[in-house]
Symmetry: C2
Subunit: 217 residues, 2 copies
């Protein structure tokens, strides 16, 4: 990862910025989904939620080959991708000092289309593993028709930054005597009881023990 560029340099609360590739990787890996922004023909912004995965220092996204986003991407689309994990609600004694504890990553780059069959297979496997580790070996990998229907995009992590807030609210001195409770309410992604589809099958280990990182059952 290169040094911060004007757009990855964290200016607001610079103490929350992180340019360490290890930090960026860990946040991308833990975030279940990300949001992909780009500029449409005519110059207006677009943004969509999408699943992603990371292999080494490349971020991969995929989508239907028929979608507007993926068709736009055939020309080498400039993208901004953000992944955000909310860790807690920061409840302060004044409205303005309320905040969130969070970890986010923004990646800028020109999306490359992934066409090599070997790389595509690796990405398909990695996307399944990103969502449910241990599952990819049990499921059928994409066939030719599914490959044709799916566009995969790659963005290298050369221009990326993380932003992290942790800790309690930071109230004004004059508010500390307030009678209101202040502090942090942790939040995390909990998994519920798996709902089987079709004929009963034994619940495999990778589903039975499934938890999001930091998540609760």
């Amino acid at each position: 990862m290169d040094a911060p560029t004007p757009r990855t340099q964290i200016r607001r609360h610079p103490e929350r910025g992180a340019y360490d590739l290890e930090v960026v990787r860990a946040i991308l890996d833990e975030a279940l989904i990300c949001h992909l922004a780009y500029v449409a023909d005519g110059g207006s912004p677009r943004v969509i939620p999408t699943i992603h995965t990371r292999i080494d220092d490349t971020l991969y996204l995929h989508g239907s080959a028929a979608s507007r986003t993926m068709r736009a991407a055939t020309a080498g689309l400039e993208v901004a991708v953000v992944a955000t994990i909310v860790d807690g609600l920061v409840l302060a004694r004044s409205a303005a000092k309320h905040s969130m504890n969070y970890r986010s990553v923004v990646v800028y780059g020109i999306a490359r289309q992934v066409t090599d069959p070997g790389e595509r297979l690796e990405v398909a496997r990695s996307i399944v593993e990103h969502v449910v580790p241990g599952r990819s070996e049990h499921v059928r990998m994409p066939n030719d028709s599914e490959n044709r229907e799916t566009t995969m995009l790659a963005v290298t992590l050369t221009e990326a930054s993380a932003k992290i807030r942790t800790g309690p609210p930071i109230d004004d001195e004059g508010d500390l005597a307030s009678a209101v409770w202040a502090g942090v309410v942790p939040v995390s992604l909990a998994t519920g009881v798996p709902e089987p589809d079709g004929e009963p099958r034994d619940l495999p280990e990778h589903v039975a023990t499934y938890r999001r990182p930091g998540g609760t059952p």
Copy 2:
């Protein structure tokens, strides 16, 4: 809300599209945060996570007046805002048919700066209520200096659409005999044990009973 425009019309999986304002409102209200995309000077995309709130048919965002986003917005910024709630992991018998159950809303529009003191106070209150219902009456509202430091943006819900996926995986006929477990793993935002800051205060009802909609303790 107007009829779907070319960019709000859901083309991929049109059966997942919803243009009903009630649906759009409910998703915006339940989503804890959203992501704001815009086009920077020079034409490249930007996207940031941010807290929002909705009052009637207006979506409000706020941020530091010193931030690049908020400074860009002073000129009447064209924005795309997306709010996404993930409800479940859809685990299919083939890699390509994996999906997520989710509810998302995209809103397009020109952001208006909120300058009226009465409207700003209402927005400050509403943002606190969006995150923790019942809290706004207990906390100090913004003073002049906090007001100067905070830019508030308003986007009307005239060009908005929702996209919703529910239900089990939709596997290929030929994969149904697969030995692998398939189905949905529900996910929701769980709240942990509140971590008090500073001198002990009684845990108020609005914190003690706090749950995200559909969330678990």
